[in-house]
Point group: C2
Amino acid sequence: MTIAILGGTGPQGQGLALRFAMAGIEVALGSRDAARSVEIARDLNAKLAGRPRCARIDGFENDRAVVAAEQFVMLAVPYAGHDATLRAIAPLLAGKTLVDLVVPLTPGDPKSVSMPPEGSATEAAQALLGERTRVVGALHNVSAHTLNHLDQSINCDVLVCGNDVDAAEAVAELVGRIGVAAYYAGPASSARCVEAITPLLIRLNISRKVPFSHAGIRIWAPGAPA
Amino acid sequence: MTIAILGGTGPQGQGLALRFAMAGIEVALGSRDAARSVEIARDLNAKLAGRPRCARIDGFENDRAVVAAEQFVMLAVPYAGHDATLRAIAPLLAGKTLVDLVVPLTPGDPKSVSMPPEGSATEAAQALLGERTRVVGALHNVSAHTLNHLDQSINCDVLVCGNDVDAAEAVAELVGRIGVAAYYAGPASSARCVEAITPLLIRLNISRKVPFSHAGIRIWAPGAPA
């Protein structure tokens, strides 16, 4: 299997590429700049050298990365590029599943969100792409820092949302392969909550009152240890 | 210290009354029906009999409960009664801190929220009460079931939000006394996320795919056990 990660040259995209490659899933790393994604892919493969059973990471321009993916295309661009990136590749996404990781952080204040009129980035993506592409929001809350520190397990459960339950469950299964618990959190409108958890975590990370940074969230069962 | 809990005869209010009384904090349990709150308070005190250092729980009509509280008035009514309850007691709340626990669950579908035009219940409360009352959102995500099972520790961190940081920090300190970690999650607008976490947890609790019910959320530090 090959998945695409667009905006894959940023910290979150790079970390996810490493984690999926470690899980044996080929990654087509997309960027507006093919030379840059090729270079980053080479660096990432070098980081994985010596680890057993890793799949390859290859760099492409965004549209070529979409074509390389059979089913799952992850969008990990900054919010400022969310709509423009989708418009540029929309026809290529028909029949595939867009996994939207983007959080509409407020420009200049990453401790808050400024949601689009549709309610969330995931809903905006679904409205923009129409019915031919299934949009699933996922992986918004996982710290890029943690993803890139391969010796650490990922301290974040993943809340997955989308109007197509089958697509969302398939994404939850995919995401589970990098070693996280993933839960179906409801239709695309749930992304209004799920995306907004990220700035809450950023606020805690910035705060001196919390004794850790790079925090995640966990669904906490009764009786489980603190 | 005495705190008021309005809507205190419901499951969440009862559970919180027990937990605060166990922490040595007197509780004025408020209801529209004074006879009912007196009766429930008697039952709750009976449940605490034999436990050391518990404070008393007393039943009142809502307005009398507000008067009994020096500073903190918790609102734990169903969303349908949120605005009407606040309007009825608004003058009595001047100079006090309203701790709003209410989640605007969609009628007939507790797996989703239907936020008021202000954005969240906390924001609606602040708009309704004006500047004389400091409104802090807190304790939305804690399972009533867990609160009422006194042998269980509370499997939920508490996200506290409000426009007055000092008031929010004071509420976080108060909430911490029942044995939970409480974090400042930003201004009242953060309640759009914090309140919406509750229906996500309700969805997980209903789902057969999650191996537990009465789930909470936890802020998860890197390196902490799963």
